[in-house]
Symmetry: C2
Subunit: 430 residues, 2 copies
């Protein structure tokens, strides 16, 4: 891995390089995606089936569009009992964590007769996109569906592309069933997003679409934003490790690689105050890469977006971590909790030498759908919040309105909104 | 106002008509907006000044770009003492309500050595867009800035278009100062949104952009979404009143008009179980319209998007209210709180005969920036939540990780992510 001393210029170059990976930089596919979206909006199922034939090579009809009970049973027969047991344990942990995120309606009343509050309502229907093929991750199915279930969403509509044989990945199906998807449609890509956003003869229109996908899926989600809500647009995975001389270089190296293996755009960055740790991690990385099964991907992503940065002190390390706003941040220092207090921007923060990032991907409970590509500056992990919305509640008695009526009228008239003023005035006319 | 009995066909036609007003339906301006956005991204201040000359007719330079202290003083001299006092009282109410929305970091620890939590951090820098000209509403400035202040945002950068004379609306300036904007730049339109999203020589890049604007502003916000966060894209204003025979027709009529006066795309809808109330409201509306100053706008918006709907019973009224998902919903029935329990979709809910909508616009405290155009199905009022983000916190001790290590490894390997498995395994190697 390349080793760099942190200077202003180095940081700027690094940030520019990382941002190249943004899904916002693939405008060349916009027209193609918009055409798919418009065609599905206009032609519904017919367009969906045609695109599925074209892009997935599968013959889908209204009859085999929905994954059948028999297909789900087949999937259970394929998935090993061991993996099913882990899935079920992970579900317990994910549910337990997300239950703590629940927000409740509240109100505040005053004796003069005012009630002000906020009513929390779950979304009615949510669409969950699940990638097919190589990127079919049952863990991701759990992470997208369970917060919606905890929020109280009435119907969860899952979409996932079929293989050429018209079948869906069995691990995906088992995870969907265990997590509580209400129905699974065999459709992927931009056509799936459009179908969820506008509805077709078969697929009901949803209120929000969540779930990761390729660039076509990301651009389609952006195109339909406003017609429906979407989760944040997922970019390539990232890890940043802040480590001092107390860190175990072998653990740090293994953790860097755990994200670098995702794809060639993934980024793994170590920021350390210790040059000797930097050298040791670099050696461990090289040794691991040779032995790991996804070696080709690892080599490419490390070459493109892997960095070892030497910081003068922990403050410098924290500054660059906040500037990068990494999806995953590990803090492996003498006092990780203290360093955490200075972190402003990160999707998930892993503390200490046993909190390795895959623990969060699979098992601990917090969501693994996290803001990428610097968006942790303003976006949050997927959560129960994503599946609720709020309404303000306002009640004023006559007794409460009377003493403030003139002020409201004055404010309205200062904005030349006379009908606004009139609606207060009329209540106190003789 | 047109009167319609509620049938399935009538509802479909009505919903289609209302959705015509969506900012998503103005694709013809997309190319023009994208060009402005790209030019500002590339050329910074120079492009901003050129567009300001072109669209606002104002000569802006680096020297007069920021509203000066002298200009703010001038603004205070123009705004009446009465209005300033109302602004200050409204600020107290808005702050008090929004303080109750604050979310706090939390964690949960288990004696085996696990700590799981959620850290709440305010956004660092936020951009607030404030329209100029006729749509300059000081109340809107308060509603956009105060939740950010309550959340703890470090810097609030306001932008608003100058008049030809290079000056900014004094009411806007006074509200900005009172609410706590840190700096005000004289720029509006798509060029202002692009400047906030990417930064220029003068304007710092922000994390999120909020605030209403015309169609160019709305499309520019959608274009930069992902580079920064945005609030929901505002459409034309709406009110829906559910009323039974106990309602005062004069109050209902006045309230319908209070939203209809906003602009020609605004929508005012009464849903009632009482034909006699329907007739009385219709008469009162006609009488008020003749006397109100914004008569031309009122007549147009009522003709285009005003409806009186007759429902068979309150359940029917609630169903159509949920289908329309109005920005403002008034419930003026014998038992408004009971009806409220059935409302799923509405921006703000006003209960009883003295809770007229303008009370919420100006004074009560809840935010008046609300989801429009059916988006209350999935979006919420602007709130403190819009100005924070969350990071997951994960700590596992060796003692906590050891008993679950094999399961995490199994899950990772079932997804063929061997480097993920390795990062757990390496911690327990001999």
């Amino acid at each position: 891995m390349r080793k760099i001393k942190l200077t202003k210029d180095a940081v700027d170059g690094l940030l520019d390089n990382l941002l190249k990976r943004s899904p916002n930089n693939y405008g060349q596919y916009t027209d193609a995606v918009n055409e798919i979206v418009e065609t599905v909006k206009k032609d519904g199922d017919a367009a969906v089936f045609e695109y599925t034939k074209k892009f997935d090579g599968a013959d889908i009809t209204p009859e085999n569009f929905i994954v059948s009970d028999a297909e789900i049973e087949e999937a259970y027969a394929v998935v090993s009992a061991d993996v099913l047991e882990v899935i079920r344990k992970a579900i317990v942990n994910i549910r337990t964590y997300h239950e703590k995120q629940k927000q409740y309606s509240w109100f505040d009343s005053q004796p003069n007769g005012t009630i002000l509050g906020q009513k929390v309502t779950p979304l009615t229907r949510v669409g969950v996109y699940v990638p097919g093929g190589k990127a079919a991750y049952p863990s991701s199915v759990l992470m997208n569906i369970l917060p919606a279930k905890v929020a109280g969403v009435e119907q969860i509509v899952m979409v996932t592309p079929p293989g050429k044989d018209g079948k869906v990945n069995p691990g995906t199906l088992v995870a969907a069933k265990e997590a509580g998807a209400d129905v699974v449609y065999k459709v992927g890509g931009a056509q799936a997003i459009a179908a969820l956003a506008f509805g077709t003869e078969s697929i009901p229109k949803v209120d929000k679409i969540v779930g990761p996908g390729n660039i076509f899926v990301a651009l389609a989600k952006k195109a339909v934003y406003g017609y429906v809500s979407i989760d944040s647009i997922a970019g390539p995975s990232e890890i940043l490790v802040i480590a001092d001389e107390t860190a175990n270089p072998r653990y740090v190296a293994a953790d860097l690689l755990s994200q670098a293996e995702h794809d060639e755009l993934a980024s793994a960055i170590l920021v350390t105050t210790s040059e000797s740790l930097a050298d040791q991690v670099s050696e461990e990385v090289d040794a691991f890469v040779k032995k790991l099964s996804r070696r080709t991907i690892l080599e490419k992503s490390l070459e493109n977006y892997g960095y070892i940065l030497i910081a003068e002190d922990l403050n410098g390390a924290v500054d660059i971590a906040n500037a990068i706003a990494s999806e995953h941040l590990e803090i492996v220092t003498k006092n990780p909790f203290e360093v955490m207090t200075q972190i402003k921007n990160a999707g998930a923060i892993f503390l200490g030498e046993y909190s390795s990032e895959p623990l969060g991907d699979y098992f601990a409970g917090p969501n693994h759908v996290l803001p990428t590509n610097g968006t942790a500056k303003f976006f949050s992990p997927l959560s129960v919040d994503d599946f609720i919305k709020k309404s303000s509640i306002i009640y004023y008695s006559r007794q409460a309105l009377e003493p403030v009526k003139d002020e409201i009228i004055k404010f309205a008239e200062s904005e030349s909104l006379t009908a606004h003023a009139n609606s207060i005035r009329v209540r106190f006319e003789k």
